[in-house]
Structures are given as C-alpha cells and as structure tokens.
C-alpha cells in the first residue's frame, strides 16, 4: 500500500523534503513507518521520540494501523509560545507618569 508522508519544520530540514510517498506492506502501523524513515535517514532516530504523528489529519498513537492512501504527517512539537511572564516581577513600576 502507498502512504503519503508529510514533513514539517525541523523534520523537513532533516529529511530534506516536504513530502514523499512510501510503499508499506499491508498491516503496517505508524511504528513501522517510523522505523522505515529511521532506516532511510539515520538522524531521524534522535528526533523521533519528540514527534507527534497524524494520519489523515488526526493525531494518532504509534500503534495505529495504516491503510492504502493514508496521509501521514510527522509533527514536531508545536511552538507553544511564551505564555509566561504574566505577573510583574519585583521591579517598581509605580512611579512612572503617563504619557497622554
């Protein structure tokens, strides 16, 4: 069966392309797909643990079985953003006059 695989961000840089098509044997799972990618791209192994995987645009477990025509994507951790820095730290801000 044919699986379309998408790569993003650091994962795309590592693999050197944004997508590929991989032929897997029937009954293969996401784990099998990841093993295949690690075989083709040795440095893939070091980032694998941090990746999420989606199949047909839904996050899935590694055990998820694949089907012919599936679109799998390797999803590095999303940026998360810096929500931090909420409450003002110790510095005194009280004396400042307002520019109007």
């Amino acid at each position: 069966m044919e699986i379309k695989v998408l790569f993003f961000a650091s994962c795309r840089d590592l693999v050197g392309k944004s997508q590929t098509s991989i032929t897997m044997s029937d009954g293969a799972s996401v784990s099998d797909l990841l093993a295949r990618l690690a075989a083709d791209h040795p440095r893939f192994t070091e980032m694998e643990a941090s990746l999420m995987v989606s199949v047909n645009q839904a996050y899935v477990d590694r055990s998820q079985p694949l089907q012919d025509g599936d679109e799998a994507a390797l999803i590095p951790p999303v940026s998360g953003g810096a929500a931090a820095g909420g409450v003002a730290t110790g510095e005194s801000r009280g004396g400042r006059s307002h520019v109007r």
Partner: protein, 148 residues
C-alpha cells in the same frame, strides 16, 4: 510613536484604533476588548444608546486603571477609548488594547481593565427603546425605573 492613551470621544471608534498605538517592537502580544451596542437588553429591543461621561474625570480614572494594570502585570502600553453621544447597534462604545511581551499578561490585564472601567469610570448609558428610555445605573438587573 506609541504611548498610553486614555480618551473620551464623540467620534466613532474603529476596532483597530489602538493596535498601532500600543504596539512596540518588544511586544509579542496585543489583547483588545471592544464593547459594542447590542440590539436588545433584558429582552427589550434597543433602538440606540446614549453615553454620557464626566469627561475629565473619566480620562483620569482610566489612566489610574492603566497604572494599576502596570503594577499588576508585565505589560507595555495601555490604550482606552470610550465613546459618548448617540451610538447605533453594532457601534463600539469602549475599546481597550494592551500590549505586552507575552500573551498571558496582555490578556489578563485587558480583562481586569474593562472590569475596572465599568466599576469606577464615570460614564453612563441611556437605553432608548421604541416605547421609552432609561439611564442604566448600577446593576442592570436591579436598575431603578426612570422611564419617561
């Protein structure tokens, strides 16, 4: 140049009126709140609203709230505009925008600022319906009738 801004105005308030005002290059977040005239209140159909303000004091109280916000959160700039006069459905009565390096401070500060504004800033709203009008003073659900 961006700066804090606290203003009571008769002119229409555009929803992006404060974005550039509060944004500086060190900011990663701008939280904005727009209060808008809705088409009904307590189940009664609104024709339009009239806002009245004690202008000088209102601007001073808004600046005080800006000061409180800056003491409580690591925010950058604060902007607050409030409209007075007759407002139609869908028009913006109040706009608050707060910039900050990070989103949490901007969002929390914006929420705090509009709550405080509604509590302490001397601005009043008259609702005008087809069959009457009333100054909304205090808790709307317990407001005294002063229909004409």
């Amino acid at each position: 140049m961006s700066a804090d801004l606290y203003r009571i105005q008769g002119e229409a308030i555009q929803p992006d009126a404060l974005h550039d005002t509060v944004l500086r290059e060190s900011d990663g977040a701008v939280a904005t709140f727009a209060g808008v005239v809705r088409n009904q209140s307590q189940g009664r159909r609104t024709r339009y609203l009239v806002y009245d303000a004690y202008r000088e004091m209102a601007e001073m109280k808004m600046a005080e709230i800006g000061g409180e916000v800056k003491e409580k959160w690591e925010v950058d700039r604060v902007g607050m505009l409030h409209r007075v006069g007759r407002l139609e459905i869908g028009e913006t009565s109040v706009l608050i925008a707060i910039s900050a390096p990070h989103r949490k401070a901007a969002l929390e500060a914006c929420h705090y600022a509009i709550d405080r504004l509604k509590e302490t800033v001397p601005i009043w709203k008259k609702e005008v319906w087809t069959d009457g009008e009333e100054w909304i003073e205090g808790d709307p659900s317990a407001s005294q009738q002063s229909k004409k």
